[in-house]
Symmetry: C2
Amino acid sequence: MKVLIVEDDHLHRSYLNEQVRAALPECVAVIEATDGIEAERLAREHSAAHIVMDLQMTKRNGIEAARTIWREKPDRRILFWSNYSDEAYVRGISRIVPNGAAYGYVLKSAADERLKLALRSIFIENQCVIDNEVRGMQQRSVTPNTGLTEAEYEILMDIALGMTDRSIAQRRHLSLRSVQNRLTQIYSKLDIYQVTGRHRDDGTFNLRARAVTEAMLRKLLNCGALERAEVDLKTWLSEKG
Amino acid sequence: MKVLIVEDDHLHRSYLNEQVRAALPECVAVIEATDGIEAERLAREHSAAHIVMDLQMTKRNGIEAARTIWREKPDRRILFWSNYSDEAYVRGISRIVPNGAAYGYVLKSAADERLKLALRSIFIENQCVIDNEVRGMQQRSVTPNTGLTEAEYEILMDIALGMTDRSIAQRRHLSLRSVQNRLTQIYSKLDIYQVTGRHRDDGTFNLRARAVTEAMLRKLLNCGALERAEVDLKTWLSEKG
DNA sequence: AGCACGATTGCGGGTTTCCGCACATGGGGT
DNA sequence: ACCCCATGTGCGGAAACCCGCAATCGTGCT
């Protein structure tokens, strides 16, 4: 068994190395990468290795790297090891994990023991391990009247990218009016109307811009998610011609 | 001498503790805080302690904490220890550092030696130490035709918060038209017009939303900056009545 | 089939955004 | 005093945004 560690922080990397060796004595080699690009390369070279990966790296973030890795080999086992359980991360991962693939999500604040357990569960038992805190988030994000549907989330990303209603309609194959309907739903779910506490819309906020801010503050969106969405948008733009 | 360490990551915190003790044998006590709120409280209790602080913490980020700490005692010495040298951080700090206060900015990727040197320079010599990479950023951000002026940056924050032109005008004591002028300047400095590569503005982008995205992607803005701006906005809204 | 309920779409119109044009203001320079 | 240039302002208009209203479509249930 081989393990590929992807983590840009030096301290965390050596800690991970240590933990992997301790938890998996059957592991014969530990490879290290310090950013997403290197990770993709090394994953190709060591196609049998299991992967432990940080989200949030400078050059190419963990989710992007995971996406290309899984695209090339959907049965790779990946353990995500992250500081936060932001909805942006959770949604980002759940939309790229291949059908039936084994993966894990452990927070960096977790105890050594939890990390070790997760390492063994995923890499040996081939079983998913999702941190409780992350699971809770996942639940909350699908409660009706509050959580955004996948379709709404998609549109939210589009306005976060700065697209006009018209181009969103074109991209998502909807009419202009439908896009605007989705927008008003997003506005109401994010409580954009009563941000000031007073009666609705006293004209201090531009709704679409405010929705993006609100989503950021709630960790529904973050910079990494924007970067990913941006590359998707670029490819769409280029194939649209 | 006492030192207060503010850092939410366990590994980094113990590393910092170790380095502080090694670099400053004259230090008689090391206090630790794991988030910005705790930091503000402990800083009040230990009013003589120097501070080493991470930016980017969950509960209250480093810049917010530093702001309140400096507001209460402008001659505190603070060493910021951060992963990145994003323009958002640099601008955020430079607008809160009191006149003549000693502070430092060291990247986490720096060698042990550099950190030790910075610790001694600031806490003993009372001398500013800014990482070269950060200095470079600072320079780039003031080059004309590219870097945003302070006034423009302010307006950029306002649209990132989702404010309308009108409310920005009111807040910044400008006419509607002046706000819009500033906006077009921001758009041109951020190259919003030729994002698609083709001729200007084919209608795929909403300029104000796109400017925010672009700023995020360029690390001119980040979530922490938004949070800070948001509390400022809230106080303005409430005192406006 | 018949019905219900939600999502989609078109229409109309009030508001906001974006910006070209023109004019006032307000310091440096010579 | 004079000019120059950068900034701030007003006007007007094309486009985009936001949304109430009403008709249509689609899917699932009985």
